[in-house]
């Protein structure tokens, strides 16, 4: 018993750190296949990160401490978030310290600092990225809260572990409120993790950048940390979706076989999620910035409708 949960916690964070680049590699490989291109293999993200970590840092002359502090903060909050979202087990000691609102707050604080870092150098691109990212976030964040609230209303808790446990035991996946919430969650995941049609993670055209424009000035280990944290964020959103809507297999007791099973199921879920993500990304083109409001607005509306239908119908 003693140390078990802490070990699970540790395992989970290690999984997040280790598997996040793999997941990105999987998504990129799938995308290459879908577009009939050659792939660099699923392990290319590891090689990218390793490369970046060995490089020197090039810093603009007037970069302040905010610019240098941000990568560590972004990376740190991603790790902290990994301790909260039940990926393998719901028996997490950190789970009691932070619920789902804190999770959204953690994403918000790393976004806050990334946006500040974008403005720190004083180039037009950085500011543009910050402004756009904050605009997208200002619609996506409430939508995400509402989507999660709908689930948490159904499960009568905002604690993620508790939500996952209750959702696992209750068979009611086909509630209208949850269907709305799930749809909204998918849209928000695309927006928050900077995927097509909201943002293009592999773009090289500055004017279409959102997230990439903010971190344009980063290099070396700073860039590595931010890239890695970005990968972890995508992984976390997938894990969060799994915990909220498809919590099958997430372990409750903390014994080894349960965790192994959870790990196996998580791999399958992520594999499928990757396919869905790639289908969405290849099927859609990136939207114009000001079309995004409709996209995010509909996510917000759907999440609100989900909560409304919970209040009225259930």
């Amino acid at each position: 018993m003693t140390g078990g949960p802490i070990l699970t916690e540790f395992l989970q964070i290690m999984l997040l750190l280790g598997a996040a680049p793999l997941f990105i590699g999987w998504v990129r490989t799938l995308k290459c296949w879908a577009q009939s291109r050659d792939t660099a293999g699923v392990f290319q993200p590891y090689r990218d990160l390793a490369r970046l970590f060995t490089k020197d840092v090039v810093l603009a002359e007037n970069a302040s401490w905010i610019f240098r502090f941000t990568p560590y903060l972004v990376f740190g909050t991603a790790i902290l978030a990994g301790g909260i979202v039940p990926m393998l087990s719901t028996d997490l000691p950190l789970g009691l310290s932070a619920d789902v609102i804190v999770l959204v707050g953690l994403f918000a604080i790393s976004r806050f600092f990334t946006a500040l870092a974008g403005m720190d150098i004083g180039t037009a691109f950085g500011g543009m990225g910050s402004s756009r990212e904050m605009m997208v976030a200002s619609l996506a964040e409430p939508a995400m809260l509402m989507a999660i609230f709908t689930v948490s209303l159904a499960d009568k808790s905002t604690s993620l572990s508790h939500i996952a446990e209750v959702a696992f035991s209750s068979q009611a996946l086909l509630k209208p409120s949850l269907a709305f919430a799930f749809l909204a969650f998918v849209l928000i995941t695309l927006a928050e993790t900077g995927r097509i049609p909201v943002d293009n993670p592999s773009t090289h055209l500055e004017l279409t950048m959102l997230h990439e424009a903010m971190i344009l000035e980063y290099s070396g280990r700073h860039l590595a940390l931010i890239e890695w944290a970005g990968m972890m964020k995508l992984f976390l959103f997938m894990a969060l979706g799994s915990a909220l809507f498809f919590p099958w297999g997430i372990d409750k007791s903390g014994d080894l076989s349960g965790i192994l099973l959870a790990g196996g199921l998580l791999t399958i879920k992520l594999g499928v999620a990757g396919v869905v993500l790639v289908l969405i990304e290849t099927g859609l083109a990136k939207m114009r910035l000001f079309r995004l409001t409709e996209f995010l607005g509909s996510a917000f509306l759907m999440a609100t409708l989900g909560m409304l239908s919970f209040f009225i119908l259930e």
Binding site: L96, S97, L106, M119, A124, G127, L139, P142, M307, F311
Partner: protein
């Protein structure tokens, strides 16, 4: 010998009053005046804070009847936990601001005498404490007017600028329209309590002991809500706030935004929860709706603002909205007799009262330091201040993080509690409320996200990047006293964020007395580290662990990466080979807010003009582009302009009566007498 809290508080008020005389004597030596002023104010506000904190701690109620006032109508004082809580807020922020003022006022030496500022500042503090201490309608209104008049003169401090005079006038008008409504509301309650022919009902005690008929209670509630809303800056009565707060000296802006608005919140709580006590659920629904509209409108206007202090003032409007959301929810729950939830929502609202005082005080002090150093309020002309004012920048950043409701700072705790209250509302029996709640929660979440964007803009544009103004000014860091004042407030923001259980444990006597249930039993059920408002498996949050965890992880990553010394090359910024980058090409406040104007612009009236000045020889290459943007509150055109036009029109029509000839006036009097006689006959 020991003093009771009410004695400490009233002696502090007396000290503030007596200081006025001292100030008159010291006016020749400004340096001595500032020294005495800041010492006396610091001590006085600390006394107020201690008196308030002791009262809340003991949970005791003390009353006094003064041998002052009108004949037969003596003034009543009462210090109960609710008053104590607000006294603590007032005292604590005034303490920080008074420390800050010691440095801030020095900037005026050689420019203008600060005697008037010192006098009215001190009267202002006295007025605010008296409002909270008053226990009868008469004394309350006198204190209310003292507070309003003192703050009017503070707004007028730099009265050579027409903007300041205009702002102060607008403030005075709206404050008085509000005061009339409050007077009428008290009139109704006093009349019902003691009969309309006698004055016996003027004490709050008399009002507490009557149960009002619903119709009269509703009238009294609506009037007082209107009056207090005018003072608190609730939309659409908020227009004075972004005019008056920015033009006042920054230490005064900090107090006005931080605590003066809270006295109006105090008024709302006092009248509804304490004097009227029993009310239908739609009152709470009304307050909740007003709160949500205020929060959303306030933050949208703040986002589009380019003047740093106006931005902060609009954000105060937003935060008043957030507080009202908590109070409104609490009223709704109370009217359905759900006391624990009511207590939760009220705690959230009161917590935010304290939080907003701390971070808005901090932010206004920071803006004051910037104004002091750069002589600039317009963010379009700022930039890069983090290099020149590192302390101010770091402290302002803490304020920005707190107000954006980011963990582990204090704004997050109150917002978290409010969300919990929303999430517990499906148990409400009213169908209309069931419709309102999800919409309210959605807009509340939107507000929180927008406020983060607003403060990224405020901090990013003024402190980061490079200087955008016409020429680099001699910018200097704020003095030690100013930094100390801001540091205290920043420390308070952090402590309130990571020790919420201790704070709730201390203050929950207030909701207990008002709504009849306390939160601390369940809130601290999981130990002092975890805040669990209802039950541990329902929701829990630990600020300490989030703070320490975040710190530990960051340090760990930092040290792991710095085992191998990496090189850092400092180079000029990459300009894509353009070579002509200027500081004016940075994103500024207007461009940052541009996407937000596209999305939320419908809430404001925006006039955008772009014109090209062509070059005679080369029509394809315009010489210059003029961009003009004007953003105004929609409410100006919707409400204020028609009202002011109508009043001018009426005044002109009535003005025709004034002939300036004695014969005409004699005819008026004659006609009046005839009419009155006819009426008497009938």
């Amino acid at each position: 010998m020991t003093f009771s809290p009410v004695e400490i508080a009233s002696s502090a008020v007396l000290i503030h009053m007596l200081f006025v005389l001292v100030a008159a004597l010291l006016r020749r030596s400004q340096k001595a005046l500032i020294a005495v002023f800041s010492t006396v104010m610091t001590v006085g506000s600390l006394m107020i804070c201690i008196a308030g904190a002791m009262t809340v701690w003991d949970g005791a109620t003390e009353t006094r009847v003064l041998s002052m006032g009108l004949p037969g109508l003596p003034f009543h004082l009462r210090l109960d936990p609710l008053a104590g809580y607000f006294l603590t807020v007032i005292g604590l922020l005034s303490f920080f601001v008074s420390v800050y003022s010691a440095g801030y006022l020095k900037g005026f030496i050689g420019h203008r005498p600060v005697t008037r500022l010192a006098v009215f500042y001190s009267l202002f503090l006295a007025g605010m404490s008296m409002v909270v201490l008053a226990d009868d309608a008469l004394f309350f209104l006198i204190s209310w007017e003292l507070m309003a008049a003192a703050s009017y003169f503070l707004v007028m401090f730099e009265d050579e600028k027409p903007d300041n005079r205009r702002a102060a006038f607008l403030y005075m008008v709206i404050a008085h329209v509000g005061a009339i409504a409050i007077l009428l509301s008290f009139g109704i309650m006093a009349g019902l309590a003691g009969g309309f022919e006698s004055f016996d009902g003027y004490t709050f005690d008399a009002m507490r002991n009557v149960s009002f008929p619903v119709s009269w209670a509703t009238a009294a509630f609506l009037l007082s809500l209107f009056g207090f809303a005018a003072k608190a800056g609730v939309v659409p009565l908020h227009v004075w706030l972004p005019e008056a707060h920015p033009v006042a000296p920054s230490n005064v802006s900090a107090l006005m935004s931080g605590v003066m608005l809270k006295t109006a919140i105090y008024g709302i709580i006092r009248v509804t929860f304490d004097l009227i006590r029993v009310f239908p659920w739609w009152w709470g629904g009304l307050v909740l709706t007003l709160g949500i509209i205020t929060a959303l409108m306030g933050i949208v206007y703040a986002m589009m603002e380019k003047d740093l202090k106006r931005l902060l003032a609009y954000s105060s409007v937003e935060n008043i909205g957030i507080i009202l959301v908590g109070i409104g929810l609490s009223m709704v729950f109370l009217s359905f007799n759900m006391t624990l939830l009511s207590s939760l929502a009220l705690t959230a609202g009161l917590y935010h009262v304290m939080n907003h005082a701390m971070f808005k005080g901090l932010l206004f002090m920071g803006a004051g330091s910037v104004l002091h150093a750069t002589d600039e309020r317009n963010m379009e002309n700022m930039g890069g201040l983090i290099h020149l004012m590192p302390w101010t920048a770091a402290l302002f950043l803490i304020g920005a993080l707190s107000i954006s409701a980011l963990p582990p700072f204090n704004g997050f705790v109150s917002e978290w509690l409010t969300f919990q209250a929303f999430l517990l509302s499906p148990s409400l029996p009213s169908p209309l409320m069931k419709l309102l709640m999800p919409l309210g929660a959605a807009l509340f979440a939107l507000t929180a996200a927008l406020s983060a964007a607003t403060f990224v803009k405020a901090f990013g544009v003024s402190f980061l990047g490079k200087w955008r103004g016409p020429q680099q000014r001699h910018v200097h860091e704020a003095g030690p006293a100013m930094i100390a004042g801001m540091m205290f407030a920043a420390a308070a923001c952090l402590c309130l964020g990571i020790f919420p259980t201790a704070f709730i444990d201390w203050m929950d006597i207030v909701p207990e007395q008002l709504v009849g249930d306390r939160l601390s039993v369940s809130a601290t059920a999981g130990g002092w580290m975890w805040l669990t408002p209802v039950a541990p498996d329902r929701a829990s949050y630990s600020g300490v662990i989030v703070f320490l965890g975040g710190l530990a992880v960051n340090l760990l990553v930092y040290f792991v990466l710095h085992v191998r010394p990496g090189k850092i090359h400092r180079v000029p910024v990459w300009d894509c080979g353009f070579e002509k980058l200027t500081n004016r090409m940075q994103y500024n406040s207007t461009s940052f807010a541009m996407p937000f104007r596209r999305v939320f612009g419908f809430m404001a009236s925006i006039k955008e003009d772009v014109s090209l000045a062509p070059q005679p020889a080369h029509a394809a290459f315009p010489r210059r582009l003029h961009y003009h943007l004007r953003i105004r509150d929609r409410f100006w055109n919707w409400i204020y302009k028609p009202v002011s036009d109508a009043s001018f029109w009426v005044a002109r029509k009535v003005g025709r009566l004034q002939q300036g000839r004695i014969q005409a006036y004699l005819i008026y009097s004659f006609a009046t007498i005839i009419v009155l006689l006819l009426l008497a006959v009938i």
